[in-house]
């Protein structure tokens, strides 16, 4: 049973996430797999120095009791928020792509983007919303 610890499970989650990211064609599910990969890194960081006797890092603690290292926990808080930011922004971009191509199939979108670039050259490419050309193009 000792092998079921945080680090092992974190790497198994990484493998599941990476497999799903490659195998699943649906972009939304790809993003969920990306979230899983990020979570696996977070679980790894939490559990790498964890020992079953450790207690919660909130004072006061009785003498002689090990407390869990607060530093990785503080780092992980940042990583969770970053994970959220990545998932939200990429979801927005997937929504824009789906609206344009009417499909969530990654290969189909990739193919459509490539043919669009090849046939039209780099000019006159369709914008997602046609009316924004006046709005602050750099």
């Amino acid at each position: 049973m000792a092998w079921i610890n945080g680090t092992t499970i974190a790497m198994v989650l990484f493998a599941i996430g990476a497999t799903a990211l490659i195998v699943r064609r649906d972009l939304v599910i790809k993003l969920l797999a990306l979230g899983l990969i990020n979570s696996s890194g977070i679980l790894f960081l939490i559990s790498v120095r964890f020992h079953p006797q450790m207690t919660v890092p909130i004072l006061p603690v009785p003498d002689g009791v090990l407390i869990a290292d607060p530093l990785p926990q503080a780092l992980v808080l940042s990583a969770i928020v970053i994970n959220f930011a990545i998932l939200a922004l990429s979801l927005v971009f997937v929504m824009l792509l789906v609206e344009r191509y009417h499909s969530t199939d990654c290969e189909r979108i990739e193919h459509a983007v490539e043919t669009e670039k090849a046939t039209l050259g780099s000019q006159n490419l369709a914008t997602i919303s046609g009316s924004d050309e006046t709005e602050g193009r750099p």
Binding site: F44, L45, F93, R137
Partner: protein, 511 residues
């Protein structure tokens, strides 16, 4: 003391640009002036205010330290230079406050990254950098931009997870995240079992951001899809942030052979793709890959002078790559395409100043004396003594010359005064370091530059390299071979990333 002000000023002013929308443009100038002032402090008698600090006074292992060393100084100067050039380039265009905010955040994150001496701090800043450049690449909301930046985000995010696992292993073994403490522990016991795995994870994670061929397969799409000013920033500066982290890692971990292998693959692969690319911006993006290979090989050389050569080359590459991207953007505005054949056909419509900027950039990039490409390459060539690195460096020079030989017809007549390039002042800003590179670098790095640059042998060698490159271009044009670009799709890129990590691990463990 006040080192952290450098990034924070940009972030504060970025927010201010949204708060007072009318002043968005003014915040860019204020930020530029503040940067110039703060960097100038370094050369003034009160330079101690820029000495190493710990954020919040936490000097212990748990805190975050910032330091302005020669590496950071070099990139700070490059940042200020590019900031000035891009500000001038964008001056006459309408700027949306969100764009200004993202630009300020980008610059702020770059400055924070070069100053940071802490692994996890680097992780957070790299993520900020990823998100900001992700938004900037797709700023025009064209579909190919959106797809390119989505691919970028997915790959970069996998890389950062790998990096985070590396950070965890380092922390578990060292008990601190500062480079100084890690360096001490690694030097104490260089044979410790955790070092290869941690180094492989960290290197593979950063490699995704650093433009290394097997890892950064998002780069050609993202850098060629972005708006011109953003391309200049990304290719000249942001991609080198990965290199900065790699340099810092290489100071701590024994990465020499790994970097050499990665550099060779990246450099030669990038050069081959650049040679066969027919789109100007895409060619510049591929060429960035091959130049990253140059930097990596320079980093793997332990000899004296190699590191200042790397820094000088990073700066030189930043200046001429930004010049080329900005000029390519101006040419695109006139012609409506960045296809090289198209540009050559319509060359009479491109303003003369744009064409001169392209010419200057090309001369500098192929490494002809007396421009900065040559001056920065010379110490690298002089410092590498083993013949494999020498050969790779020469091959890279030939590849660069061969890919830029495509542009030669662009500089033929007729030279009529047509139109006016609205942003020519920004070319002047970038041309200054290209032409006056030697005095600037001598002032910064001292004696490392006196010896090799003056050698006749190196000058002749670089001219011969360019000539051979031109010949290769003629032969390659007959052959009409184009390598497949399927590798740059999303799913193969994820595969390549993971296989690349395993390869780096094997090299570090068994070589």
């Amino acid at each position: 003391m006040i080192l952290a002000l450098l990034p924070l000023i940009h972030i504060f002013l970025g927010m201010a640009a949204i708060a007072w929308k009318a002043c968005a443009r003014a915040t860019l100038i204020i930020a530029l002036l503040a940067d110039i002032g703060l960097v100038a402090l370094y050369f003034s008698p009160v330079s101690h205010v820029l000495s190493a600090t710990a954020a919040g006074g936490w000097t212990e292992a748990i805190g975050i330290r910032l330091m302005l060393d020669s590496l950071a100084l070099d990139f700070l100067l490059l940042t200020v230079l590019l900031e000035a050039a891009v500000l001038i380039y964008l001056w006459r265009q309408r700027l949306h406050p969100t764009f200004v905010l993202l630009l300020q955040f980008l610059i702020g994150a770059v400055m924070a990254l070069v100053l940071s001496q802490d692994l996890f701090n680097i992780y957070v800043i790299l993520e900020l950098l990823t998100l900001v450049s992700f938004l900037l690449v797709a700023y025009d909301r064209r579909t190919f931009q959106i797809w390119a930046s989505l691919k970028y985000l997915i790959l970069a995010s996998i890389g950062m997870s790998i990096f985070l696992i590396g950070v965890a292993i380092v922390y578990a073994n060292v008990g601190s995240l500062g480079f100084a403490e890690i360096g001490v522990v690694v030097a104490d016991n260089p044979q410790a079992g955790w070092i290869p795995l941690a180094a492989a994870l960290l290197t593979a994670g950063v490699a995704v951001k650093a433009g290394i061929l097997i890892f950064s397969l998002w780069l050609p799409d993202a850098h060629s899809a972005a708006p011109a000013a953003i391309s200049a920033f990304l290719s000249a500066l942001v991609i080198k942030m990965g290199v900065v982290v790699l340099i810092r890692l290489a100071h701590v971990f024994p990465l020499g052979p790994t970097l050499k292998i990665l550099g060779t693959i990246t450099g030669i692969g990038g050069a081959i793709y650049a040679m066969s690319s027919r789109d100007l911006k895409r060619m510049l993006a591929f060429h960035t890959l091959s130049q990253i290979g140059y930097l990596l090989i320079g980093m793997s050389v332990p000899e004296y002078g190699a590191e200042s050569g790397v820094l000088a080359y990073a700066m030189a590459h930043g200046s001429f790559k930004a010049l080329l991207f900005l000029a390519a953007g101006a040419a695109y505005d006139v012609v409506g395409s960045t296809d090289i054949g198209h540009l050559i056909l319509e060359r009479h419509r491109i303003p003369l100043r744009t064409r001169s900027a392209l010419l200057l950039g090309t001369l500098a990039i192929v490494g002809l004396p007396p421009f900065d490409g040559y001056i920065a390459k010379a110490p690298l060539l002089a410092a590498t003594h083993d013949w494999t690195s020498q050969i790779v460096l020469i091959l890279l020079g030939i590849g660069t010359a061969a890919s830029f030989a495509k542009l030669i017809p662009l500089f033929k007549g007729p030279y009529r005064r047509v139109g006016n390039d609205p942003a020519w002042e920004s070319y002047v800003v970038l041309a200054l370091p290209i032409i006056l590179f030697l005095p600037i670098e001598r002032a910064l790095f001292g004696t490392a530059f006196t010896l090799p640059v003056m050698s006749w042998f190196l000058a002749v060698e670089s001219i011969v390299i360019v000539a051979v490159g031109w010949l290769v271009y003629r032969i390659h044009r007959r052959l009409r071979v184009r390598p497949s670009e399927r590798l740059f799709r999303l799913e193969p890129a994820i595969f390549a990333l993971m296989i690349g990590f395993i390869a780096i691990y094997l090299v570090l463990r068994f070589l």
